[in-house]
């Protein structure tokens, strides 16, 4: 307890732990970047086919390559940042993001029936994407400062809940149920790792389950429809069930080894919706079969494993919680997207990290990967310092 009260003092003189830039560079988790590049490469193969090759989709292919290049540079730059730099500015970032979310609610751009984007003239930003990261960071910082070890009681959760709820409610209002679920789930993971007692966990889970009927009533009609459609897609084969059915056909018809590169009929004959964005996994599954998707899932698994490893090795609580949150965010994206494509989860607009076409998704993922790498760079395994 005493130690934590002193921490602000340390913030005043951060240069105590200053590690030289070249050292940080050599500590960069290159293995993570290799795994990321592998996923991206698999994704580019699928994207190439999904947009119809260079003939029809050169634009998409070049754009995505640029996205990735920029994102990799961003990741490295973020990773090489000073050890306490991010922790220091967490609440500021959180506040800014919250304000942006508020602005979206008031004057956001409407697209696909939802108010999600903020038009800044040159770029359109999606504050809900930023909030995923901002919230993880804010929660990590809060628990880092509290340093209650271990076993959080219900009262200790009041501030984290205050951090989560406004953001969550604004995202749900957009409405963007998929992102809301991810934000909530990631927040819960951070709280869980921070040390919630099993009793409190049990109470919370019960409370959430009990509130489900209320949530159902509160959902928009189309959101309910999507959930219903998941369980009975054949009832509406040309309407909302169409995506699920066609996606399952694409995935299933790929078989063990797939139909071959550029040979997926569901993809090339336009039966598959949202081929290059949310449903790109189906393209991969159709053309490369079970073997192909197994390879991709394995690499994803390695990235998640790597992330968790970084979390356990992190120098301080902030690092541990930040790495856990980012890794679980990544894992949630992967699982929700694939689960949706194979007909296990409702169709929500969650892109497949590093694979789905789109700059904002790519940037969010790579910024988070940069933060993960940052934790790794300053982790304990390289412990040339004795912090305590």
């Amino acid at each position: 307890m005493f130690f934590n009260r002193n921490e602000p003092l340390l913030l005043i003189s951060p240069r105590l732990e200053l590690v030289r830039l070249t050292e940080r560079f050599s500590r960069f988790p290159w293995g993570l970047l290799v795994l990321i590049t592998t996923v991206f490469t698999i994704g580019m193969v699928a994207l190439y086919s999904a947009v119809g090759g260079m003939v029809n989709g050169a634009n998409f292919i070049i754009q995505q390559s640029i996205h990735f290049t920029v994102a990799v540079i961003l990741m490295v730059v973020i990773a090489l940042g000073e050890s306490k730099f991010y922790r220091r500015h967490v609440y500021f970032v959180y506040a800014i993001t919250l304000i942006l979310l508020l602005l979206v609610m008031l004057s956001g751009t409407v697209g696909m029936g939802a108010r999600r984007w903020l038009d800044l003239g040159i770029v359109r930003i999606q504050p809900s994407e930023m909030m995923k990261l901002a919230l993880i960071m804010a929660l990590s910082r809060y628990f880092h400062d509290q340093a209650v070890t271990p076993g959080l009681r219900l009262v200790d959760l009041s501030v984290p809940i205050l951090l989560i709820l406004p953001a969550l409610l604004m995202i749900i209002r957009q409405p963007d149920l998929g992102t809301a679920v991810v934000v909530a789930a990631t927040g819960c993971v951070v709280i869980f790792v921070a040390g919630i007692t099993w009793k409190v966990l049990l109470i919370s889970v019960t409370a959430v389950l009990a509130s489900m009927p209320l949530v159902w009533n509160w959902l928009h009609g189309y959101q309910r429809q999507r959930i219903l459609t998941l369980f009975f897609p054949e009832q509406d084969p040309l309407g909302t069930g169409y995506h699920i059915i066609q996606s399952k056909i694409a995935v299933g018809s790929g078989g063990l080894t797939g139909k071959g590169f550029m040979a997926g009929s569901q993809n090339h004959l336009h039966f598959l919706p949202e081929r290059h964005t949310d449903f790109i996994f189906s393209v991969l599954a159709e053309e490369w079969g079970f073997v192909g998707v197994l390879a991709l899932i394995t690499v994803y698994g390695l990235i998640i494993f790597y992330g968790l490893l970084i979390a356990t090795m992190a120098r301080d609580r902030f690092g541990m919680l930040l790495a856990s949150g980012i890794t679980s965010l990544f894992a949630f994206h992967v699982m929700i997207n694939i689960g949706m494509v194979v007909g296990l989860l409702p169709v929500v607009g969650i892109p497949l990290p590093l694979v789905s076409y789109g700059g904002s998704s790519m940037l969010t993922v790579m910024v988070s990967m940069g933060l993960l790498a940052h934790v790794s760079v300053h982790s304990k395994q390289h412990g040339s310092y004795n912090y305590n």
């Binding site: 299933g252 078989g255 009929s265």
Partner: protein
């Protein structure tokens, strides 16, 4: 014990992260299992569904076999039917285009409205049918201006055409959309909804041959239904052409001479039993079945008292009347019950068991022998033969001549007629006993006995060729020797006696069939009258035509060396000698006149 709270925290975090890692590992494995289920276990199922999505099968119609007469004159053909269609996505302003088309083809505003409504329902790249059955004028008008009508196309499809209309209508039959009844009958053919199938006549009897096998184009289509490429094509196998035994010229003569009557004519070649002509009147135009009827036309056709839709040559069942007397006479001779010289006295009636059996000639024929009895068609003479023979022998001979069973000609819907017997009566009638009086009535071809015109023609032809009953045939595609249904079963001398009698019917001084006497050849025949109303004989001049008797006549010619045999039934025509015989005579006359002319010119056949 770890002192440092941070390291203590780390230990706790590790435990929790291990739990999280395990959970994500499990979830990823779960996804893998799901993918294994979809792709490997159910892969075949989804592959089929993907193929269903992308492959569309387009049938290539097989041209139906044509039908020719015995000399190769086409009786049924396939003509192109030109259909005006438009591809909306190329047309620009569809409504304006259609109204411009009105200059060249008769398009009502209502039709345009229907087409426009349809265009909103289907994809813009699919052809939209505007009008079928284009005339030559419409076709040429549109073709010339095609460049100024973007998106307009002329589609060609095959349409069945019967160039001679009503001529041979019953024989040829017609086509109609397939129904469950057709599917049950032709189990080998895989019909598709809306397919045309032979409904009657040759079109139905030889459906399997005429039909051919549909080809198929396998097209790959995209999600919008647009064709991407052709995957595979199997060509259609055209149906087989049929060559009938029918002689179109003879058929035409028969129909011309039958104008205004109701009934049927069948002409057979006596040696091969090939059907040379088969007429049923009144008839219909099979082309109307192809074009489609209005409800009114159909109603008129259905309710015509002449029953134009039935083929009376094989479906009309009439008591054969006196035309049956040859069979009875042959039975009596063959069984030795009479000699040709035996005489019976005819006072105009015969009393049996207080019942009076009238001869058609009320004043009687006096004493008559076999020859006179047939020539003058004396009923009393044959009442006596009926008494002597009994129903069992009459039945036996009637069956030997092909009565009471299908002739085997192979036309759809042929009826069997009826040869009564004791067993038959016991089984079907309330009064189970065969009365002696019924022997008498059967002997003059009345009572329960019925036969189709085709059966009568077969009987006549069998007598004419010396006693062999063949199976009649309609198809000449591959020359087959005629199938014998019943080899000669009566002595030739008996047949010759009967043939002599039949010559007298037409040529004798008192013959009942003198009206049939043609100029060209000598004819042998027999008149018959079949009662429509039993017991009391109606006056021939009765106002009610429908109560009048049917007139029958059977004949063969030439009498010395028979070539053709015919049977003719004129419904409600009165006496056979009055109505039926003259028509028969003229048919025979025309046939041999044409043959003489052709031989004179040394031509095999001319029409």
């Amino acid at each position: 014990m770890i002192e440092n709270p941070q390291e203590q925290f780390r230990v706790d975090v590790r435990r929790r992260l291990l739990l999280l890692g395990g959970a994500s590992g499990l979830l990823l494995v779960g996804l893998g299992v799901r993918l294994f289920y979809l792709q490997v276990l159910k892969g075949g199922h989804y592959r089929d569904m993907a193929n269903d999505n992308r492959i569309s099968l387009h049938p290539i119609p097989a041209p139906r076999g044509r039908i020719f007469d015995r000399f190769g004159v086409p009786l049924v053909e396939n003509n192109p039917d030109y259909v005006l269609a438009v591809i909306p996505e190329l047309a620009g302003d569809l409504a304006q285009l259609l109204s411009r088309l009105q200059t060249y083809t008769s398009l009502s505003d209502k039709t345009i409205e229907v087409v426009l409504r349809q265009s909103r329902r289907q994809r813009a790249f699919l052809p939209l049918k505007v009008k079928s059955h284009l005339t030559w004028e419409e076709l040429s008008g549109i073709e010339v201006h095609l460049p100024s009508f973007p998106g307009v196309i002329i589609q060609t499809r095959s349409q069945r055409v019967y160039p001679y209309g009503v001529l041979g209508a019953h024989l040829l039959g017609y086509l109609g959309e397939v129904t469950d009844i057709d599917r049950e009958q032709f189990t080998q053919i895989r019909f598709r909804y809306g397919d045309l199938v032979g409904k009657n006549g040759v079109e139905r009897s030889y459906e399997e041959l005429l039909r051919g096998v549909e080809g198929v184009r396998e097209l790959e289509i995209n999600a919008f239904g647009r064709q991407v490429r052709e995957l595979h094509q199997s060509a259609a196998q055209p149906g087989q052409d049929l060559y009938l035994t029918i002689d179109l010229a003879l058929q035409r003569s028969c129909e011309e001479l039958f104008q205004g009557q109701t009934g049927a004519v069948v002409v057979l070649d006596v040696n091969s039993f090939e059907v040379l002509a088969m007429v049923s009147y009144p008839a219909y135009d099979p082309n109307e079945f192809i074009r489609g009827f209005t409800a009114k036309q159909w109603y008129v056709l259905l309710n015509n008292p002449g029953r134009p839709l039935s083929n009376k040559a094989i479906q009309g069942q009439y008591p054969p009347g006196s035309t049956f007397k040859m069979v009875v006479a042959l039975a009596a001779l063959q069984e030795g019950r009479i000699t040709p010289q035996d005489r019976f006295f005819c006072p105009g009636y015969l009393m049996r068991e207080s019942q009076r059996f009238n001869c058609w000639r009320r004043v009687g024929h006096g004493s008559v022998n076999l020859e006179e009895a047939i020539e003058q068609s004396c009923d009393v003479y044959f009442y006596r033969l009926g008494e002597k023979l009994g129903i069992d022998i009459i039945e036996k001979y009637a069956r030997l001549f092909g009565f009471g069973e299908s002739s085997g000609v192979g036309l759809h819907g042929e009826r069997h007629g009826l040869v009564p017997s004791r067993t038959w009566k016991r089984k079907t009638r309330k009064e189970a006993i065969w009365y002696p009086g019924e022997n008498l009535i059967t002997a003059i071809g009345q009572g329960y006995l019925t036969a189709t015109p085709l059966q009568l023609a077969c009987m006549t032809a069998a007598i004419a060729n010396g006693g062999t009953l063949y199976r009649p045939s309609m198809i000449r595609n591959n020359a087959v020797t005629p199938v014998i249904r019943q080899p000669v079963f009566v002595r030739r001398e008996h047949i010759n006696i009967i043939k002599q009698c039949m010559e007298l019917v037409v040529n004798g001084e008192h013959g009942t069939g003198r009206a049939a006497k043609p100029a060209e050849v000598r004819v042998a025949g027999k008149t018959g009258t079949s009662q429509v109303v039993r017991q009391q004989r109606h006056d021939d001049r009765s106002d009610e035509r429908r109560f009048r008797d049917h007139a029958l006549f059977v004949a063969y010619a030439p009498a010395d060396r028979p070539e053709i045999a015919l049977a003719i039934v004129v419904e409600h025509g009165g006496h056979g000698g009055q109505t039926a015989a003259p028509i028969a005579g003229k048919i025979i006359d025309r046939y041999f006149e044409r043959q003489r002319l052709q031989q004179g010119r040394g031509v095999d056949h001319v029409l």
